[in-house]
Every structure is written in C-alpha cells, then in structure tokens.
C-alpha cells in the first residue's frame, strides 16, 4: 500500500508545470499525422518542445474555461472558425498584437478583432455523381432546396460543426427567414437520414444511394490519394462543384482552421514563434500536400489533385459570423428536423 501511495505521489509531482522552459502547450482539435510532423520540425528548428492535448473543440473549450487562470495552455487550435469566435466570446483568448504575424496571409481570411490567425482553409462544396447529374444542373447552395433534388441529397448530421458553419453563413448572407425555408426544403430533399462522415457521403453517391452530397473539399483529396483502390474508384465516380460562382454571386462557403493565443498563455513568446512557423511558406506547403487543405497564403499553390478542380471564388463574409450566427443556425436545424 505504501508503495502505491508513493507511486501516486510521484505521478502527481512529476506532472507539475515548470515555468521558463523551452516549451509551448497546445490544446488542439487537429489530430492529423501532419500536425505532429509540423511540431517535430518546429522543435528541430527552434529547440522548443511542443506539448499537445488533442480532443474535440468543445471539450477543449470547456477545459480551458474551467481551468481559468491555472490553465497551462498557450495555444488553442481548431478546424472550425466558429469555435475560435466562441473562444473569443467566452474571453478565453488574448489578442496577438504583433501585426507582422499575419504578413502575407490573405486579407479576407483574417480576424478583424485580432484574436485568431488562420492556418489553413477549406471549402464546403457540392460533389455530384458523374453518371446521374450534369454539371449545368448545379448552381448554388440555395438551389439545393429545389424540388428537382427530391430524394437525391446526401449530407452528414447537423451536430457536425462544418454543417453548422455552412448554415451560419447562410443565415448571415440570406437572413434567418430565408434560411429557415431553405433548411425545411433541403431536408425534404434528403436521400436518407443524415449519418456517417463526409467520406461516407461520397461513397453513398458511388453506391447509388443519392446523387449529390455536401462535403469538405479536402476529403475528396484524401479519397483520391487513398491506398484502397475501391476508395479511389469511389472518388472517381464523382466530380467537384464550387457553388455560387456566377458573376455577382458571393462565392463558395469557406471555413478556417485557425490558431489563437490562450488568455493566460504561460509561454507566450514561444507560442508566437510557433504561430509564425505554422504560417511560414514551408509549413504551409507541408499542409497543402498532406491534408489537401488550401494555404492561407496566396503564393502557396494547392496540391495537384486540388488544383485540378480549378480555382474558385470565396465567400468574403466576415468569418466571425460563422460563430455569431451559430445558435440561430442550430435552432433552424432543429426546427427543420435536420437530424
């Protein structure tokens, strides 16, 4: 018994924080292999050790909030800008102040309040069956409410934050009433109840369970570069369509994976160095070639697979609106019966 107790004591003490170390502590929603690669490279370059806790954004937010002043976190990373806004709103972040940190990053992707910094972005696009849909039948997100899509649309659940962000952008652009009727109409066009993840929607098109799907762009890249031949075939059975591209239209909905300084960041200067590193040209190239996301720097070209889809016009909406409109978006989902 004594041995156990002393062991426990050891664990507790062994994990206490030391100040003034060459470390940076991250709470991250990103858990791809490429992220670890970036951190390893950063450590090699600077000697600063990167410590990471990976979990869902919401859980990390709750943890940050409840830890309060005692939080060891320096940085908060998400794959949905809505959560960055939420963190700002909950008072969990601090401004980055050093404006040189955003040099070279596309202006429209930046946070107007100066809290978070975009690291990559992705578009929520439409993919369609090469067999059963002609490209000229597609036009806008709004058009998905049309009767011609009855029983043909595939999409995942409304608890997914990418869908919540898309609907928030519609609320911001079209207003609440229009979005409500859009949501009601699109739900009646669903081919099946929302389920699975984005890749499952593409597979369901290939399987003939529906004709078009709303998915994040990089999933198509991942599918096409899969090691499973059947997955590549499924990826080839569909094509990519960027909605709302017509002259005068707003452009396709985009979302940002971003990073922000925690309010009580104990290793602030190290944290800023890591932000600079992740937005550097080298790191940006690593992102685009491993995860098929888009770089936030206009000079970094997308991966060839992504490039083949062509360039597209991005919705210039203030990205914070994807957070501010979130609650009304969720209520609209619920009222429309979007599971």
């Amino acid at each position: 018994m004594k041995k156990i107790l002393s062991l426990l004591l050891l664990i507790t003490i062994g994990c206490s924080n030391n100040q003034d170390e060459m470390i940076v502590n991250i709470y991250s929603q990103r858990h791809y292999d490429v992220d670890q690669l970036q951190y390893d490279n950063f450590e090699k370059e600077t000697g600063i050790k990167v410590n990471v806790i990976k979990a869902n954004a919401d859980e990390l937010l709750q943890r940050l909030k409840n830890e309060g002043d005692n939080s060891p976190a320096d940085l908060f990373i998400t794959v949905d800008v809505g959560k960055l806004w939420q963190a700002t709103d909950m008072g969990l972040l601090q401004k980055y102040e050093d404006s040189s940190i955003t040099d070279g990053i596309t202006e429209t992707l930046l946070d107007k309040n100066g809290y978070w910094i975009p690291v990559t972005y992705r578009s929520r696009i439409i993919v369609y069956s090469n067999e059963r849909v002609k490209k000229n039948e597609l036009s806008t997100y709004e058009d998905l409410a049309d009767d011609k899509w009855k029983g043909r649309i595939l999409v995942r659940s409304s608890s997914n934050s990418y869908n919540q962000a898309l609907l928030s952008s519609l609320v911001a652009n079209l207003g609440e009433e229009n979005t409500k009727s859009w949501a009601n109409a699109i739900v009646s066009n669903f081919a099946r109840d929302p389920k699975g993840n984005d890749r499952d929607q593409v597979k369901a098109i290939a399987a003939g369970q529906g004709d078009i799907a709303i998915v994040n762009s990089y999933y198509i890249g991942l599918l096409l570069s899969s090691e499973n031949e059947e997955e590549i075939n499924a990826g080839k059975a569909i094509s990519v369509f960027f909605p709302n591209q017509a002259e005068g239209d707003r452009g396709s909905h985009i979302n940002v994976s971003g990073i922000a300084l925690a309010k009580n960041s104990p290793n602030k200067s190290n944290a800023l160095k890591l932000i600079k590193y992740l937005t550097s040209d080298d790191a940006q190239k690593t992102y685009v070639n491993n995860t098929f996301e888009y770089s936030v720097k206009p000079n970094i070209e997308p991966n060839q697979i992504v490039k083949d889809w062509g360039s597209f016009k991005k919705d210039p909406l203030d990205l914070n609106m994807l957070g501010t409109e979130r609650k009304s978006a969720i209520r609209i989902f619920d009222a429309a019966g979007w599971k």
Partner: protein
Amino acid sequence: MNVKSLTLIISLVLICPLIYLVYSVLGLNLENFIYLWNNLLVGYSFNTLYLVFLTSIFSLILGIIPAWFISTSNFKGKNFFDVVLFLPLAIPSYIIAFTYSDILSYTGPLQSFLRNYYPDIYPYFNQDYLQIEILSILMALVLYPYIYTACRISFSLIGSNYINIARNLGMSKLKTFFKIIIPISRVSIFSGLFLVIMEVLNEYGAVKYFGVNTFTSGIFRSWYSMEDVDTASILAVCLLIIVSIFFILERYSNSKYNYNYKSNDDVSGNYTLNRSSKSLIYFICSIPFMLGFFIPVIYIIKNTVDTFSKIDLNELSILSLNSFFLAFVSSLIIVVIAILFQFFKKISRSKTIFFLSEIVSLTYALPGAVIALSLILIISAFSNFSGISIVFGSLSVLIYAYVMRYMAVGISPLKSSFEKHPESFDQTGRNLGMTNYKIFSKIHLPINKTSILIAFILCFVDIIKELPITLILRPFNFDTLAVKTYEYAIEEMIAKSSIYSLIIILFGTVLLIFLRKIINKSLNVS
C-alpha cells in the same frame, strides 16, 4: 478515525460529480429545456428506448441460448466455446461499430468482392448499413457476454432437479426452458442486462457515427452546440434518475428472489444429442463468437499486416505501457476501495455505510465526458477556494476520474461474494480474539480471493477500452491505445487504427480467458 467517517469521506470524494450535477440543476434556466423538450427530446427519448430495447433483445438471444446449451449438453468443443463466447467483451463498442461499417461499406471488402465477381447478387448487398437496427446488433455482439456469463453461472447452479421434475411432469424441453429455467434465472439475467443497458445509455461515438440521436447526444448538443450547461445538467440528471430506477429494480429483484441453488448437482449432459441437434448447437454457439469476435479480429489483423511497415514500434510500446499502467493502477485502487467498503459494511452493520456503498455505484450511469467535465469544474472551484493549484493534466486526476466512473464494476462482484459468507465467520474470529484487521486479513481476504481477482480484471478490461474521460483529462503528449484508435477511426483511417485496437483486444482477450478459467474453477461450473 472511525470506520463510518472514513467511508463517508471516500464516498464523498467519489460522488462529487453527482452532487455537483444535482446542485447545478437547482438554479436552472428552464427556457432552453422547454425548447429542447418541444423540438428534440421526444425523438431523443424514443431513439434511446428503441436502441436500448433492440440491443437488450439481441443481447438476450445471443447470451441466453448458447449459455443454455453449453450448461446442459455435452459435446465436443464445448470448453472451447465456453471460453471464446466470452471474448467479444474485449472489443470496445466503438471499434466494432467502425470495423463493421468499414467491412460493409461500399468500398469495403464484402461489397467490392461481390461487385467484381458476382455482379448479379451485388445489388442485394448494396445497402445503407448505418441503421439503428444494425447498430443495436453490433452493440449486442460485444455486450452479450455480460448476459452469457450471468446465465452460465445461474444455469450451472440450478442443478438438474428442476429439470428432472419438469420432465417427469411431461413438460417439453422448450416449455421447461421458458417456464422453469428462465424464471429461476431472471435475477442473474437482469443483472447482466443492467450492465448492457448502462453501456448503451453511455455510448456516444458509435451512436453519433450512425446518426442516431440518443439522450446522451442531447446532453452534448446542449452543452457544446448550445453552450447551455444548465440544460445539459438537467438531461444528465434525468438520465441519472432513469438509471437509478433500473438500479433500484435490480437491487430489489436481487433481494426478493432467493432460489435454492444446489451447486454440486451437475446439469451438464442432461440432454442427449442426436446429430442434427448437435449441428444446431454448433451453429448457435458459433454465431456470437464468429460475428462478435472472429470476423472483426481477423479483419483488424489483416489491416495490421497491411500497414505493418508504417507502424512506429517505439510509439506503440509507449502507448501500450500508458494504457496498461493506467488500467492497472486505477483497477487496483477501485478494488482496494471496494473491498474496504464491503468489509466496513460487514463489521459495522451500519445503514449509512450500506447506503453509501450503494450510491457510489451510481456514477457508472453518467457518460464519461460528463464526469470528466464536472470533475474539472469541481477541481477548479476547489483550487480557487483553497488556493492550492491542482494541475489538470496530471495522471492522478485521470485515475481519479476512472476510479469514480468504474467503481460499480469493481463493487458488484465483491458485493455478491462478501454477502455470500455467513456472519458466523466474523463471530468465530472475534471469539478467538481476532482484531478487525486480523479478521480482514485472515478471513475475508482469503475467502474472497477469487472475486477480488474477478473485480480487478473486469475493471482493467473496461478501463483499457475507456475513451471520453481519457480524451478530456489526459496530460500533454499523453496518448493511450484507445485514444489513438479513435483518432484514426473518426478520420476513417480504419487500417491505420487497427494495430492499436488489436493491442487493446489482445490485453482484454488474455485477461478474459484467464478470468473464464478462474470463474469456472471457483464455481465448479461444468
């Protein structure tokens, strides 16, 4: 310190999330709850009930029938089946859900094979498999061992008298089974079913992937998406009340029905078998094992072999060590506390201690994430109040959360074992001038040895599978096998996740085989 106050302190430390929850509901804001009630709650409740109902039915079928045949018939390979029918318990429900979705998906091996070689029958298999009914079957496939084990013990203890009498009265086999055996065994069946229901109510990952919104999804929708802790707490308390009802029912039925088991009366070989009934038995006993263990494990092994060159063995050994260490230490603490509680209950015969030792089991009803988050809240409140800063990312907090969550798993086998032994043991000890400590170390520890081991193994197997608590409370750069499996699986990289799931299953399998052996030995089950 006397026994009562020590029990009280340990209990308080263990149930503080419950106290916090109930406390937070007192100052609630009903507006959002009414909204949730009007829009979603009816659907959520229906889904939950439907899922619990279906999973229970399938678990009962998969558990009771093989247990019956194995207990009452002699056939070749019986011992083999008796061991392997237990093994699906080693597979976490999220792993079986993701594995089967992959096997059955459009790009998975089954559909690809049929598409390429049997295009005529392929269309029948091109289905949407992400259905609530399929989910319930998958969950039943890994949860039925709870019922199987309970039934195995009960059927073997019934003895052949009941069966012989029924037969002499002209009852058919089927009638005997339904009219005599099932009613006699209902207490043990219900205790197994109780665990199945708890697991279903807690399940989150697989349920979300299948697009099934349950009560637990409702808790997270309010907490996360609506940023409404109040409503989440109300829902959690509702869940707690539902579970408490089941809990009380289980305890009530346990205390009410006391059948007279004749443990040395062998029931096996009671029915002679002809060839066709033999093949039927093989078929029936194979199904749960094949679907619940063999097929998914083979698929996972195949994926492991495919990705073997990419496996970082160094990382793998660290993860295995982390998982092992956490499960070992936490299980040990749970078992120690559980033993103390049972012993205190015995020597003090105090109602308070009895009540406390029951109530610490209730945290089992709360979803892991709720426990983790309320623990953060309580600890930060404590730090602010006392000025002592506690680092969240320490393993001790993680272990604390595990102990809280899995107390019930450790208590349940110990409780029944301690209750079985008569008071006269203690009295005799006392008459011989033994101190409480001596009674404990010389009498209770040795006679409850088996159940202590059982409690430890059950906790270990559960904790090594644990996911939400680990995700939320773990220290920096600290991964476990379960966490790694999950990270790859939700990104649909099933192949990459396979080595980690395989090790979890391996740990569980070895321990469960061992457990099977000691249970059978101690009960003299044949």
